[in-house]
């Protein structure tokens, strides 16, 4: 492992001059092709001694080809090393900049120390710890990248020292062989790394290496939080055909074995891939997650808009009975409408900030046919708990993958609001949370959510029976009775005068032109002053009214 002081002492600019010189050496040697050809024993010379002369000329030519290949390999390896060392030093500088800007010092050995000695507030302690971890992560990744640059260059130099076969063709061909040999293998992502580690790893790769990862190892990054959305999208699109082939093969085997249940599951996953492709076909979409390994369902997440650059990003998590095959198209359409409404509000009232939103079907939501399965029923927290970790990581990955954090809104509907509520009990960068048609959010206290006070919103429509099932204990109480949440109107009405429709029942919240959709769009767009507050409580809420001493 290289040390921080070593890496800082390296001089990539000087190395760049050597790389340029080595390229020049390669060109000089390749340009000797004509001299070597003309220098061969002439064909006019016919004698026994000519055969020996031809043999030794061939040896000479091939030896020169070997040298050309070696020089070309070294030139290519140096060129890559210059870029990689420059990046690694840039990453170190950035880490040191973050440290200096936040009152941390970094020793020459890379030890990070907080210069503030008196931290009283728990939140402040947690924040300082998070910043310190980020700095440490960045330094570690910079050193990993520098180490990789060094070992790759050393390997190329040693390989050249051991001799490279330039082949028996032309010197130019030998140069091409050498140049190819000078390419380093791509550093694999750190295992068990945080989303910041993974982002640093990604940013440490050259553009060519990033392209290589996408084309040759898309599975490394497709579902990896911390990787930029564009790259995840490219990688997941690369994987669709492979996944289809894989599932089709599995389906044939299951059918042969007469396994009806498995065949149905696999068929539905394949239908899910079709639904994903149908949606991507519309353009302006990013495929941020695609996972065929779920026990029962395909998992996927599709963004409308550009998650890498949008000023406002929303992540929508649906719930009970949701599947990619059956629901991706509908949710994508609703999310598109939400983004359009939010974008219009941002343009009209706000700073014109751009908006993107994700339909996140990244967990196996409970289905009717497993309602009776105690481990995976809608009356159980288990699927939500399983999904919440992934969802929290997904939120954090959005922040980690970007230079500047977006205004991030979490939306959870129905059982998805439980998943969202549980995810938000972890530390995330979510700024606003909207929970609608919610049977419970996994807690009875809004303070348990890692979202600033006043930024958790609740919507409940008239005659939404799901939103009244609170009191199941394990879900937390009916959100209608959680103090500290802001209720937003789902009723017909009344902004300045006219025309937002009421939402009725469990599945009408995102309907275009509804008060409910308008309100959610206002939060997503960062113009909460445009919302209309309100609480809709029906008869079901009276039944679900919790007794104060029970929660």
């Amino acid at each position: 492992m290289v040390t921080m002081s070593q890496v800082r002492s390296w001089r990539p600019a000087t190395l760049g001059l050597v790389a340029d010189a080595m390229v020049q050496r390669r060109r000089t040697l390749v340009a000797l092709q004509d001299e070597m050809d003309d220098g061969a024993p002439p064909s006019t010379w016919v004698s026994e001694s000519r055969d020996a002369a031809v043999a030794s000329h061939t040896t000479l030519r091939e030896s020169l080809a070997d040298l050309v290949a070696e020089v070309a390999q070294v030139a290519a390896a140096l060129d890559i090393a210059v870029d990689a060392v420059t990046r690694a030093q840039g990453e170190l500088d950035e880490a040191l900049g973050v440290a200096a800007g936040n009152g941390f010092s970094v020793s020459t050995t890379g030890r990070v120390t907080d210069n503030r000695d008196t931290l009283t507030d728990d939140q402040e302690v947690a924040d300082r710890r998070a910043i310190r971890e980020e700095i440490v992560d960045k330094i570690e990744q910079a050193l990993r990248n520098a180490g990789h640059a060094d070992t790759s260059l050393a390997a190329a130099l040693r390989s050249a020292a051991g001799g490279v076969d330039g082949g028996t063709s032309s010197l130019a061909q030998a140069a091409a062989t050498g140049t190819a040999g000078g390419q380093r293998g791509v550093l694999a992502p750190p295992t068990g790394g945080t989303d910041h580690d993974l982002n640093s790893w990604w940013e440490g790769l050259t553009e060519d290496e990033q392209a290589t990862v996408i084309s040759e190892h898309p599975e490394w990054i497709g579902n990896t939080d911390g990787i930029p959305a564009w790259a995840r999208d490219d990688a997941n699109r690369e994987l669709i055909d492979d996944y289809r082939a894989d599932l089709t093969g599995q389906l044939a085997t299951a059918q042969e074995a007469g396994d009806k249940g498995l065949s149905e599951t696999l068929t539905q996953k394949l239908d899910g891939l079709d639904a994903v492709e149908d949606t991507l076909e519309l353009g302006n979409r990013q495929l941020l997650l695609l996972d065929i390994t779920g026990e029962d369902q395909l998992m996927a997440a599709i963004a409308y808009g550009d998650v890498d650059t949008a000023d406002h990003v929303a992540v929508f998590t649906p719930g009970f009975t949701t599947t990619v095959a059956g629901d991706m198209a509908g949710y994508d359409s609703q999310v598109a409408n939400l983004v359009e409404e939010a974008a219009a509000q941002s343009d009209k009232y706000g700073d014109g900030g751009t908006v993107a939103a994700v339909s996140w079907l990244g967990y196996e939501a409970p289905q009717w046919d497993n309602v009776l399965d105690p481990g995976s029923s809608v009356a159980s927290r288990a699927p939500a708990e399983a999904g919440a970790g992934n969802l929290a990581s997904f939120y954090n990955g959005i922040d980690a993958s970007r230079d500047a954090d977006p205004h991030l809104t979490a939306l959870g509907h129905s059982y998805g609001s439980l998943t969202t509520g549980l995810a938000l009990q972890e530390q995330t960068g979510v700024d606003d949370a909207i929970l609608f048609g919610s049977p419970g959010i996994g807690t009875s206290h809004v303070e348990d959510l890692d979202v600033s006070g006043g930024h958790v919103y609740r919507l409940e429509a008239r005659r939404d029976v799901v939103a009244d099932v609170g009191g199941l204990g394990q879900f937390g109480i009916d959100p209608s009775y959680i103090d500290g949440m802001t209720g937003l109107s789902t009723e017909q009405g009344s902004i300045g005068g006219v025309d937002y429709a009421e939402s009725v029942g469990h599945s009408d919240y995102l309907t275009r032109g509804s008060m409910s959709q308008h309100n959610m769009a206002s939060i997503v767009a960062g113009v909460p002053e445009q919302t209309v507050e309100g609480d809709t409580r029906g008869f079901g809420d009276i039944l679900s009214w919790p007794l104060p001493w029970t929660y």
Binding site: D278, T279, L280, E281, L282, G283, N284, R285, Y304, D306, A329, G330, D332, S333, A336, N337, E340, A343, A344, S346, D347, K348, Y349, G350, G352, G353, T354, V355, I495, G496, G497, V498, D499, Y500
Partner: protein
């Protein structure tokens, strides 16, 4: 869909021209919030039908407040010439006016003035004759 987009684009150009003639030229621009044609499916009876959002036009700031209702009338008049009926006033309060119109196919324009001025257009569900490749979705 192709014909609808052509008609809507012409209508928008007319709306902006009518506003310019009466209230002066403004620096209308395409909103970065609405890149290209934004397609979504609507489901229902025809799974191949799509709605398309055209690029939103906006300019920073707005007209003088006493001209707002006049501006809204101009836009609505152009809308009527293109088969849109007045949908109504979404918002009319100090510092915020927004109207919309709808056509027989579920298309909708919105014209609003608050901090900034916006004109958005979204089609109702239609089928494409030749659906564009995602990369070809030019700004309209």
């Amino acid at each position: 869909m192709e014909q609808v987009l052509t008609d809507y684009t012409a209508m928008r150009d007319e709306m902006v021209a009518a506003l310019a003639e009466s209230l002066g030229e403004r620096a209308w621009r395409e909103s970065p919030n609405s890149p290209g044609l934004r397609r979504s499916r609507v489901g229902g009876a025809d799974p191949a039908a799509e709605q398309v959002g055209l690029v939103t036009w906006s300019f920073e700031g707005t007209y003088a407040v006493d001209a707002w209702h006049g501006a809204a009338r101009l836009v609505a008049e152009v809308g009527r010439r293109h088969g849109f009926t007045d949908g109504g006033i979404t918002v009319d309060r100090p510092g915020d006016l927004e109207i919309f119109g709808v056509d027989a196919h579920g298309g909708r324009y919105t014209f609003g003035m608050a901090t900034n001025t916006i004109l958005t257009l979204r089609t109702g569900p239609h089928r494409w004759e030749h659906p564009p490749e995602p990369a070809d979705q030019q700004r309209t």
